[in-house]
């Protein structure tokens, strides 16, 4: 199959903004790992005691925690889980049972100790382990092999494998406020909040951070990723800390939040995937998880609280969207989504993709085109106000504001949990609207959207599920008809771009036939069953309506449906 070449990308390399790894905040954190884990433990315990002030409440909470953890061990064990877990939790359980035989004083002391034991264990599990030597090694090796792969595959001559004609930057386009991001990382602490579509996102982001010359960020990476050994290796070396979504108990959640909170206060640049999990539907995230996000607001408030001066370190939130023609997991994700749609049930994490599949995918990716683009959004303060290149917060009219004042009551900085929850919600709403604004429309997204909506229109009486059950063979759109609608929607996207409501890739412009061909060729390019194809008559057909639905969803939320 022929794939049209992307225009040669003009991205240039970036110098690191901090010279040596020892200067990096993340290195400082892991050098003092033990002290840091202890600090997280102490502060998390304080927080838990605040939330569960009475003895009875605390014991109830501990019992609930043990119950849930033992349940998890029984039902849902993972390869990464430590072996001594069953022993640990039955030990805690026994201690809890024995509490009733003790005097109040003894029991109180024992509870404290148990809480400490649990929280400390969690903090230790969560904490990352950044090793400069490993980081350098991984960085070098990825770069080396990526470049080899790229050149070997592209230029079909013996010896090409040792050339440096193509680099990763030709594959991965970084657009948007790059310079600002680099400035902000010098001036304060950056929290990057990318959209999340694929397990590859973490690696991609890691590479981007490095190639932009930024010091390593700490990740909140799903523990399930550590099941895949190749990921585990990457993550561990890149300063990832572990987030286990199976654990919903209060001590765990508070410890996790405290870890992020304190790391931010110490200036460690961080990455959150605020969607919490990969987007199952292919929709750009609409509902963000507020837990980790709230730590940015809390950390900033604490910095203001502890630092009366004007030079308080600021935390900047930078939204990032990752745009793909193809998402490896799409067929499974959309299936999950359709199964549980309308119900807020727990998603079982199934990662069918072992190291080998991934390498295979990477090879295909580099040999077959299909580029990725990464849009870096404008920096925000923790209240969701835009900041300028110097990190000053601006109001809607471009006037400079001091975010400290958001946390002030009667002239003093105060902590107010309810207020900060509301601020977090406001920040989340802003991030979502920024996602839509900086999203880059690819030809493949647009053809998927147009084709799906056109078919949907033809069956007005069916609901979504009824429609998705239609046999694919019945569906065919005459090319001319498709082309006309495509052009109409594309025009609207141009208009939206003018208004600053979305971006589109440069390849979206130009001759409609060429763009449609590029879109159809690229959408879900490596799936066994292709979401869109042209048949012999030149008409548009599909082999997999569910997956087409997935790619179509990328453009939901712009009111484009009304044009079809």
């Amino acid at each position: 199959m022929e794939i049209l070449e992307e225009k040669k990308n003009k991205n240039i390399g970036y110098e690191p903004i901090l010279e040596g790894i020892p200067d990096w905040p993340v290195y400082q954190l892991s050098k003092n790992r033990k002290e840091f884990v202890e600090e997280v433990t102490q502060k998390a315990i304080e927080q838990i005691r605040l939330l569960r002030p009475s003895r009875k409440q605390l014991i109830d909470e501990l019992e609930a925690t043990v119950f849930r953890e033992q349940n998890r061990l029984k039902r849902n064990r993972w390869r990464v889980d430590p072996r001594d877990e069953p022993r640990f939790w039955s030990h805690i359980k026994n201690e809890l049972i024995e509490l009733s035989n003790k005097t109040t004083e003894e029991a109180t002391r024992k509870e404290e100790a148990l809480l400490h034991e649990i929280v400390h264990r969690y903090a230790n599990e969560i904490a990352g382990n950044f090793k400069p030597s490993r980081y350098r090694f991984v960085r070098a090796i990825t770069k080396f092999w990526f470049v080899r792969l790229l050149n070997g595959a592209r230029v079909k001559k013996f010896g090409a494998i040792f050339r440096n004609q193509y680099t990763l930057r030709d594959k991965i386009h970084i657009v948007g406020k790059v310079k600002m991001l680099r400035e902000l990382a010098k001036k304060g602490t950056v929290v990057m909040v990318p959209t999340h579509f694929s397990n590859l996102d973490s690696i991609l982001i890691g590479w981007i951070i490095h190639s932009l010359g930024l010091p390593a960020f700490i990740y909140g990476a799903g523990l399930n990723l550590f099941n895949i050994s190749i990921f585990a290796y990457f993550m561990n070396s890149l300063g990832a800390y572990k987030v286990d979504r199976r654990k919903k108990n209060l001590p765990y959640l508070e410890t996790l939040k405290m870890y992020s909170n304190l790391a931010l206060q110490k200036g460690a640049h961080s990455i959150f995937f605020p969607g919490g999990t990969r987007s199952r539907s292919g929709l750009i995230e609409k509902q963000l998880k507020l837990g980790l996000l709230s730590t940015t607001v809390e950390a900033q408030r604490n910095l203001y609280l502890e630092n009366g001066g004007t030079d308080t370190r600021k935390i900047f939130v930078v939204p990032v969207t990752l745009n793909y023609h193809f998402v490896l997991e799409a067929p499974d994700l959309i299936e999950d989504y359709l199964q549980v749609k309308g119900q807020d049930r727990y998603f079982p994490e199934q990662d069918k993709y072992g190291s080998f599949t991934l390498i295979k995918f990477l090879f295909k990716f580099f040999t077959k085109g299909s580029s990725i683009s990464v849009s870096i959004g404008q920096g925000l303060d923790v209240m969701g106000n835009y900041v300028d290149d110097n990190g000053n917060s601006l109001d809607a009219h471009g006037r400079s504001i001091n975010p400290r004042e958001y946390f002030m009551t009667n002239g003093q900085v105060t902590a107010d949990k309810q207020r900060e929850n509301e601020y977090t919600r406001m920040l989340a709403a802003k991030i979502v609207s920024e996602y839509h604004r900086i999203n880059r429309v690819f030809a493949s997204h647009l053809v998927a959207f147009v084709a799906f909506e056109m078919w949907l229109r033809k069956y007005p009486k069916l609901d979504l599920f009824g429609f998705l059950r239609l046999p694919e063979e019945e569906l065919e759109i005459p090319y001319e008809e498709f082309r006309a609608t495509f052009k109409k929607v594309r025009k609207e996207i141009y208009r939206l771009k003018e208004k600053g409501k979305v971006y589109h890739a440069t390849h979206l412009k130009g001759d409609a036939d060429v763009v449609i061909r590029r879109g159809v060729d690229n959408v879900g390019i490596f799936h066994l069953k292709r979401p869109l194809l042209k048949n012999k008559k030149g008409n548009i057909v599909t082999q997999d309506l569910n997956v087409l639905y997935y790619y179509h969803n990328r453009l939901v939320g712009y009111d484009l449906e009304k044009l079809i």
Binding site: N402, E405, M408, T409, N410, G411, Q418, E422
Partner: protein, 351 residues
């Protein structure tokens, strides 16, 4: 009472209309108050006579003609200006505001932004993109996020006579609600809390429509049965309309909804009621508005809500018929006949 140094700061009130003046007087029972009026002449006059619109001014109230002074001296400000001037006022106030300010408004009307050269009638559609509540205007025009509103059965005259009454303060922020409560609460004035800011605002706006209808029924000489019919069906219409506009059902059943509705529908003192009453007596809208001192928010509200009802596909019979009476030469009697003949089916179907 907390004894923080800055709680000695005065509280600001913007707008020396009927309601603004009365609220300033209530606030003055607890704190020093700075009352802003746009008109310099009025500022001087009130300062000298210590009287405004028949209310004598509490000794703790100081007049000012400067928004800058007001914003600098006060952390908590109560804007009480008609919806038609609200955005303009906010634009003037905005440069002096900081994120630490708390704004609690008491304006029961919508703000609309139309493309140049369009009017409410000529514009193709009105949706929540064009129609904003006052809290949304505050958020759009300034850096203030801690916003609240004051709504409920608050007839200025009764409040100034210190008759028992209640109000609801709505905000997303507990801090705002508690601040408002501390400032307003007296042994004669109960303050309720609500976290559905937009719902409470919309309830306060929509009830003005029903108030006009109530005035019209009175003007036709009908009694209490008719009023009971109107209040209950009016409440249902408010719930439907309110939900379409982004409020939650509960807000409409509380002090700001039913509470305010019953009061305004029974009070010949209210401006909206008067409009309806005089319409029923055969007067023309233009003449009625000409000799009213203050704005009857309900008239504009009807124009806006009718257009929104079209857009959101909500059946708002009372609003639509009042619209026809106000702007399309339907008589009040004809409108009533239409409503009485309408084959309504369900009593309550929103709970």
């Amino acid at each position: 009472m907390t004894s923080k140094s800055s709680s000695d700061k005065p509280v600001g009130v913007i707008g020396a209309g009927n309601f603004g003046t009365v609220i300033a007087n209530i606030l003055a029972l607890n704190r020093n108050v700075l009352l802003y009026a746009r008109n310099e002449e009025l500022v001087r006059k009130i300062s000298q006579t210590r009287e405004n619109r028949g209310h004598s001014i509490h000794k703790n109230v100081t007049m000012t003609g400067s928004l800058e002074e007001l914003a600098q001296s006060c952390d908590v400000i109560f804007p009480m200006v008609p919806s038609a001037h609200f955005r303009e006022m906010m634009q003037k106030l905005s440069p002096f505001l900081h994120p630490y300010h708390i704004l609690i408004h008491g304006t029961k009307g919508f703000d609309i932004t139309l493309p140049k050269g369009e009017s409410i009638e000529s514009v193709k559609k009105l949706s929540r993109k064009e129609v904003k509540t006052m809290s949304e205007v505050i958020r759009e025009e300034s850096v203030v996020v801690r916003v609240g509103c004051l709504a409920g059965p608050n007839l200025a005259k009764e409040l100034s006579q210190r008759q028992p009454g209640a109000t609801v303060i709505a905000s997303h922020f507990q801090e705002v609600i508690q601040t408002g409560k501390r400032l307003l609460r007296t042994e004669r004035f109960q303050v309720y809390e609500n976290s559905d800011l937009v719902g409470v605002e919309i309830a306060g706006v929509l009830k003005n429509i029903i108030a006009i209808a109530s005035g019209a029924l009175s003007g036709l000489g009908y009694g209490e049965n008719a009023k009971g019919l109107l209040v209950s069906r009016g409440a249902v219409e408010m719930v439907y309309m309110g939900r379409a506009l982004g409020g939650d059902t509960k807000a409409f059943l509380g002090v700001a909804g039913i509470g305010d509705l019953v009061t305004t529908c029974n009070s010949p003192m209210s401006r909206n009621f008067t409009v309806g009453y005089r319409l029923a007596k055969g007067e023309k809208l233009k003449d009625i508005l000409e000799d009213m001192h203050e704005v009857a928010e309900g008239v504009n509200t009807i124009r806006i809500v009718k257009k929104c009802a079209d857009y959101y596909n909500v059946r708002a019979l009372i609003t639509e018929n009042l619209y026809k009476v106000l702007f399309e030469d339907l008589t009040v009697q004809e409108a009533l006949d239409y409503l009485m003949r309408y084959p309504l089916n369900m009593d309550i179907d929103f709970l």
